[in-house]
Amino acid sequence: MTDIRPVLFVVGVLLSALGVAMLLPAAVDVASDDVDWRVFAVSSMVTIFVGGSLVLSMRGANDERRLGLREAFLLTVMSWTLVALFAAIPFLFSNLGLGPADAVFEAVSGITTTGSTVLSGLDRMPRGILLWRSILQWIGGIGIVVTAIALLPLLQVGGMQLFRTESSDRSDKLFPRLKQVATALVSVYLGLTTLCALSLWAAGMSLFDAVNHAMTSLATGGYSTHDASIGFFRSALIEGIIVVFMLLGGITFTVHVRALRMGPAAYVRDEQVRLFLALVAVATLSIAAWTVLTQDMAIHDAIRGALFNVVSIITTTGYASADYALWGAYSVAAFYFLTFVGGCTGSTSGGMKIFRFQVLYAVAHQQLMQLLAPHRVTVPRVQGKEIESSVAISVLGFFFFYALTFAVIALALSVFGLDPVTALSGAATAIGNVGPGLGPIIGPSGNFATLPDGAKWVLSAGMLLGRLEFVTVFVLLTRAFWRD
């Protein structure tokens, strides 16, 4: 049986940190004279109390036992789920009139950096709530970067074992130890967020808006402080800045660390980053060309609109600067499939991730070549590394799980009466952690508020599944996991 005590210890630490983070929106509410601060103060106390109790009561266990494989799986799933549940408390008790389904949806959407929202009237909302949403995404962003770089490769989830050697590889002495890696990642994340906030502020946003949008851009989250999202600002400069920082958030953070030491050449040298940027360029140009040719849009507007929204969807941020649902059939279909792509591994973005497509392509291509010459032994390669059979199957299996989960969630959503377009795009946007779906209800100019509660629970589960790369959760559902 898995020893749950060290797991609860770490969860306790995380909850305490979350409780402390709740004091920030409380302070902002106090400063802007909003009674909402009490909600945050009480939520903070509850969270710190629960977290602190866990830490104190489980402390002894942590000293003698180390985290094994099972514990690591359990920890990953439990920490994300519990943090999301506790983060929902302020939403539930503030005077927004949200039920449990809504509050949990909003918190899960935040911590998984999805960005789907059930709130409307953001422009008149208490600042504490707005800041809390951004903080959740920001925490979720760094949380997934650390999970993806430090934890998932050890757990061999969905081909992530390919990245296992990066910290121990001698030819590439990035940083020898895990803690140092984490520290470096957090500093880069913090630095980029500060830079983004300053740029946005200089470009004309209010300081509050600038800080919020900086947090949700880097986290590729997509919560905004306005109902009209980035469209509210009507500024090409702001859109440009956000595009840059969304892209930075969608790039592997270890590459950022490397770039700091070796200069920008690190970006060019990374095959995944190159491919990612190439895909953004192709999608932008094709959508821009389509809208110019068929929708009579001016070239300048078309490129600006396509670039912003393509980057927003590919990096799974989910900001909108315009309702691309109105850009005609090709754009809608293209945006739909971009929902599945995602950014690079070890970034804050969701989706399938570019590196998996590289592996999938390499393996499929090798399969085709094998058909022509059955006796020749060829090994697929990605980034100069040989893809072992076990990694190939791991990635291919991930793809299957992705498709299967997508189908199950879409079916479940349709049980609650969602039409096919809403169900198919809702499922895709949830497991890809993107944000907006398609159709009049949950499209870029819509909102998830009107969905039935059951659908919201299903979507919340989908967002967590997608964020934790499916396999991490599915392992817990096997009997073998709980057997001795």
Binding site: A329, S331, A333, A334, Q367, L396, L418
Partner: protein, 482 residues
């Protein structure tokens, strides 16, 4: 560069067969006194001429068929038959453009069943029987391919079905040619039994034969615009269900069944899973219909069974417009399209064995996560799956999804709305027939789509029918390099 002469030689042979096939609708039109027979006679003449020319000019002494030739032959022969099979549609008095004609022929030969012809009830009998013949030929064509060629080419995990004659435990039948001959006889037998059953249930002789051909081929072309719903007869619907199911089982297992040993058929895990999936979906949908729409239990079960079996096996008959059954039903039908039937049957789609291999491989994978040094071997039909087969099937799944995505986006670029584009891509690549939505749903037709969309869909049908790899490999530069 592969030697293409033996390929054209065989295509010549196929064209001669095709021209013989065109004799049947010509006869049908003559018997009913329809002037349309001239179209078929002309088209048959053209096919015969070109076929004989190819046979005479391409005959070579050292006719060696390598892997490349086999791939090229497979794709080119289906393509050529679709192009020539389109001649009668283009020349007849149906006001079809050549695009429409190719779409219809491709939809026929790939046993898809999507149609651009409106007014079937008044169409000349020759045209109706020609559509049925195309599907029937396509059905037997794909079984023969799945039994003889695909396992050899190791397409998408089909190597699992390499003729088991070499294994001493199962002395099925020694040679491929014999197997193919017996399967053809079984196919003809099933078709005749189906026609007879339809006839006894009250169909006219002509309708019974035409529907029998498209039922066993899981094709789905009908002789009425309202499809099988036209007959409004529960007996006919249950007969159709039975024979659609019979068309979706592995035909190789029938061989032992007709020889008195029915156990392999009953014990086959692919067959079990196929019925398991169909049964679950039917139960879910029927209870949904009964609870949400207040249907009576009997008709609900019949309608759900008929339409689900029709969509899942890729037949595409309709008895009622299931788009009106509510959102849950629509989504179930959308995903059911991808499933398909068993390998070595007339169905298309992903195929049940691939889902089994996918499931077995991924669960073994999860076991491995907990015990990185443990040995987990996935099994299919009580046999271990080699890693190369797993990779092959998993890659097939990936390419399937990617092709579906690319086709959807392509259809979007021709201006189709989201639901039409996505379900059109699915229905084409899985060779089902109807899509979802107002335009191409079970009550609609593909006639109003723009021409580029029809070409894309035709390509999608071919891609899906030939199991992707066979077509995609021709698009790689390595294929044409020496």
């Amino acid at each position: 560069m592969p030697d293409i002469r033996p390929i054209f030689f065989i295509i010549g042979l196929l064209l001669v067969i095709l021209s013989a096939g065109m004799g049947v609708p010509a006869l049908a039109d003559i018997v009913t006194g329809h002037a349309n027979w001239r179209v078929f006679a002309g088209a048959a003449g053209a096919c015969l001429f070109i076929g004989v020319t190819l046979i005479l000019t391409m005959r070579t002494e050292a006719a060696r068929m390598g892997v490349r030739q086999a791939f090229l032959l497979t794709t080119v022969s289906w393509l050529v038959i679709a192009l020539f099979g389109a001649l009668p549609f283009a020349l007849a008095d149906l006001e079809l453009s050549y695009t429409d004609a190719v779409f219809e022929a491709m939809s026929g030969i790939t046993t898809t069943g999507a149609t651009v012809i409106v007014g079937l009830d008044r169409a000349p009998p020759g045209i109706l029987i020609w559509r049925a013949i195309l599907q029937w030929l396509g059905g037997i064509g794909i079984i023969v391919m799945a039994v003889s060629v695909l396992p050899m080419l190791r397409v998408g995990g089909m190597q699992l079905f390499r003729m088991e004659s070499s294994e001493k435990t199962e002395k099925a039948l020694p040679r491929v040619a014999q197997v193919v001959a017996i399967i053809s006889i079984i196919y003809v037998g099933l078709t005749m039994a189906c026609a007879l059953a339809y006839w006894l249930a009250g169909m006219r002789g002509f309708d019974a034969v035409a529907h029998a051909m498209t039922t066993v081929a899981t094709g789905g072309f009908s002789t009425a615009d309202a499809s099988v719903g036209h007959f409004n007869s529960p007996a006919i619907e249950w007969i159709a269900v039975a024979f659609m199911l019979s068309g979706s089982l592995p035909f190789v297992l029938y061989i032992q069944a007709v020889r008195g040993n029915i156990m392999p058929l009953l014990r086959d895990s692919q067959v079990h899973t196929f019925f398991g999936i169909a049964g679950t979906a039917i139960l879910l949908l029927a209870s949904w219909r009964i609870m949400a729409a207040d249907e009576a239990i009997g008709p609900a079960i019949r309608q759900v069974t008929f339409n689900l079996v029709s969509v899942m096996t890729g037949t595409g008959y309709a008895t009622s417009d299931f788009s009106l059954w509510g959102e849950f039903a629509l989504t179930v039908f959308f995903f059911a399209m991808f499933v398909g039937g068993c390998a070595g049957s007339t169905t298309c789609g992903l195929k049940v064995f691939r889902l089994q291999v996918l499931y077995a491989t991924t669960t073994a994978q999860i076991g491995k996560l907990l015990q990185p040094h443990g040995v987990f071997v996935p099994h299919f039909n009580r046999k271990p799956i080699p890693e190369s087969v797993s990779e092959s099937v998993l890659s097939f799944f990936f390419l399937y999804v990617v092709s579906f995505g690319a086709l959807s986006v392509g259809l979007g670029a021709t201006g189709l709305d989201f639901l039409t584009a996505v379900s059109g891509a699915a229905t084409a690549i899985a060779n089902v027939g109807p899509g979802l939505g107002d335009v191409i749903g079970p009550a609609g037709t593909f006639a109003s789509l723009p021409d580029p969309a029809k070409w894309l869909l035709s390509f999608g049908m071919l891609l899906g029918r030939l199991e992707l790899f066979t077509v995609l490999i021709l698009l790689t530069p390595a294929f044409w390099r020496n």
